[in-house]
């Protein structure tokens, strides 16, 4: 394919009046490159530039090279310019990674058995159940989080239920990491079930029978046959959940309250009330780097597999 392109190029160079019309495909790609370039790639470069700029006197920023945005993540500048270690933002970064990892793990623990169950159903029931898993994903994220504010909040169904078992009345389960986690698992679970189901469905049933014939019990079969064979689905589900979970904004803002921040809500704050654009940009660059690391590991894995095949 690249050969023909080359010859076309060469002949075009040889005769100035070439007959070959402009390849329409490039015209088709142009709008997508334009919009992604303008509304996505260029802005990301600007964020990187702002992260090493100076904070403006009245919010915003001024151009110039200044690493305060990054040093602020770990150090607080005292009155006399001395650098004082402050763990508060480090805690937010760690909370982000831990909550995103826990969300992924809990989604996985829920998704594997449910996907396995769905895969065993008749094809019409399968379609219905997959539709039911997908449906909530298309509903407003803010409303799905709001639903959990009602459930866990004061006078909500869950605290009321716990009162029956002796919990104090007027109990609220809101504004802590657990509440954030509950909302995150709920909002991201469809992203895990779909790829896990897709690979469990393809699983060859005779292999499970073979494992049984070789005296593997259900647990051994699950661990040694089912899980390894569905690893591709599990990995893509984990990426689909972990990456957006790292950038979660609404869940920590609404469920965690003001104090239990994650990187996403910290960025949001710096561009809203906090008005420290270089610091907010530095956190945004860090978040982007985390996501890129995950995606690059994945791409390398895929490349290695392709090379092996």
């Amino acid at each position: 394919m690249s050969d023909t392109a080359h010859t076309a190029h060469a002949s075009a160079g040889a005769s100035p009046a070439r007959r070959r019309p402009l390849n329409l495909a490039y015209l088709g790609l142009l709008p997508s490159w334009l919009i992604m370039g303008f509304a996505l790639l260029l802005p990301i470069l600007i964020v990187a530039a702002v992260s090493v700029s100076t904070r403006g006197a009245y919010g915003g920023f001024e151009w110039g090279f200044d690493l305060t945005g990054y040093s602020q993540i770990l150090f607080n500048e005292g009155w006399e310019g001395e650098m004082e270690f402050t763990p508060q933002y480090l805690i937010i970064i760690l909370r982000t990674i831990v909550l995103a990892a826990l969300t992924t793990l809990l989604c996985l623990v829920l998704a594997v058995p449910v996907s396995y169950f769905i895969a065993q159903q008749s094809s019409s029931r399968k379609a219905l159940l997959v539709y039911l898993v997908t449906l909530p994903f298309w509903m407003s994220l803010i409303l799905r989080v709001y639903a959990w504010m009602i459930i866990l909040g004061k006078d909500g169904p869950l605290p009321r239920f716990l009162e029956v078992f002796g919990a104090p009345s007027g109990l609220s389960l809101m504004y802590n990491d657990g509440a954030t986690l509950a909302a995150m698992v709920y909002t991201y679970i469809p992203l895990m079930v779909l790829p896990v189901f897709a690979s469990i469905e393809k699983l060859d049933g005779t292999l499970i029978e073979a494992a049984h014939d070789l005296y593997g019990n259900r647990w051994v079969t699950l661990r040694r046959v089912i899980l390894p064979l569905t690893a591709p689905g599990i990995i893509s589900g984990a990426i689909l959940v972990f990456v957006p979970a790292l950038g979660a904004v609404l869940e920590p803002i609404l469920m965690g309250g003001g104090k239990q921040m994650m990187m996403g809500s910290l960025i949001q704050l710096q561009f809203g009330g906090g008005r420290n654009w270089p610091f907010g940009s530095a956190i945004a660059v860090m978040l982007l780097v985390f996501v890129m690391i995950v995606l690059i590991i994945l791409a390398l894995r895929a490349a290695r597999k392709e090379a092996a095949a």
Partner: protein, 267 residues
């Protein structure tokens, strides 16, 4: 093989799955039930009433936010679907296309990167170039992040379609344009339609970017809902939420049905 001795079955899986679907839908059901509560305080049930629906429908700020959301979503859907259609045709059907893989990654970039980063990035860009118009800012940003949602179903449809029909049309002396309009377009319509619907839903639902870019007169529905949640319990909120849940349910069902129909009668 009898169920009891089927080694592929794991005990308790059925019960667990039922519990899972309850978990998936109970929270939405709770919101819907409370929307009919006459009491101002959500958690305290007094009696059945539809009065909050009436006051929601008479809420001018809510209707203005809905209007903004609809305007932005309709324009962004048209723009994103057109961009996605052109890109999908070029990537799947184009001959001698270089940068095919890179182009596909670029189109899908909004799915890979955290939305909050993109939101602050566009905020800085727009403030640097001095773009003031709130609606225009929203339309540009929404068109960009809706594109992959429109692209994926269209690409899937194009990939599942054999070239025979288009070749037959060309053999019958149809021009490229006629072939596209009379053969390709009708055949990829299911993908195009569900892609457009999903782009529309994503635009309508967006909070992070819209909130970051929101200025006077460009408050979208999710941003308005966020302000209601922040302000504390507004009894109208559950009624608004219920109406939106039902609306998304209908739209998503139509989009998903068309998409799966298209996949079933593969050609």
């Amino acid at each position: 093989m009898s169920t009891k001795h089927d080694v592929k079955r794991y005990p308790g899986l059925g019960a667990l799955s039922v519990a899972f679907f309850v978990y998936l839908y109970a929270p939405l059901l709770v919101v819907i039930i409370y929307s009919f509560n006459a009491n101002r305080i959500t958690g305290v049930w007094t009696e059945f009433s539809v009065k909050w629906y009436g006051s929601a429908l008479n809420n001018k700020a809510l209707m203005a936010a809905l209007e903004t959301s609809l305007i932005v979503a309709v324009i962004a859907t048209v723009v994103a679907t057109s961009i996605a259609l052109m890109a999908a045709l070029a990537i799947i059907r184009g001959k001698n296309v270089r940068f095919r893989k890179v182009s596909e990654t670029v189109v899908n970039l909004p799915l890979l990167l955290p939305e909050i980063v993109l939101a602050v990035a566009t905020l800085i860009l727009f403030s640097l170039i001095g773009l003031q118009n709130g609606l225009l800012k929203l339309v540009i940003a929404h068109s960009a992040f809706c594109t992959p949602f429109a692209f994926l179903p269209i690409r899937a449809r194009l990939q599942g379609m054999s070239l025979d029909f288009e070749e037959a049309a060309t053999d019958l002396y149809a021009t490229r344009w006629t072939t596209f309009r009379r053969v390709t377009l009708p055949l990829i319509f299911p993908g195009l339609f569900s892609g457009a619907m999903l782009a529309f839903l994503i635009s309508m639902d967006d909070f992070i970017t819209s909130n970051m870019l929101a200025s006077g007169g460009s408050t979208t529905l999710p941003v308005y809902i966020f302000s209601l949640i922040r302000a504390g319990t507004s009894p109208e909120l559950n009624a608004i939420a219920t109406l939106l849940i039902v609306a998304s349910l209908i739209l998503a069902t139509i989009a998903l049905t068309v998409a799966s129909r298209g996949a079933r009668d593969d050609i």
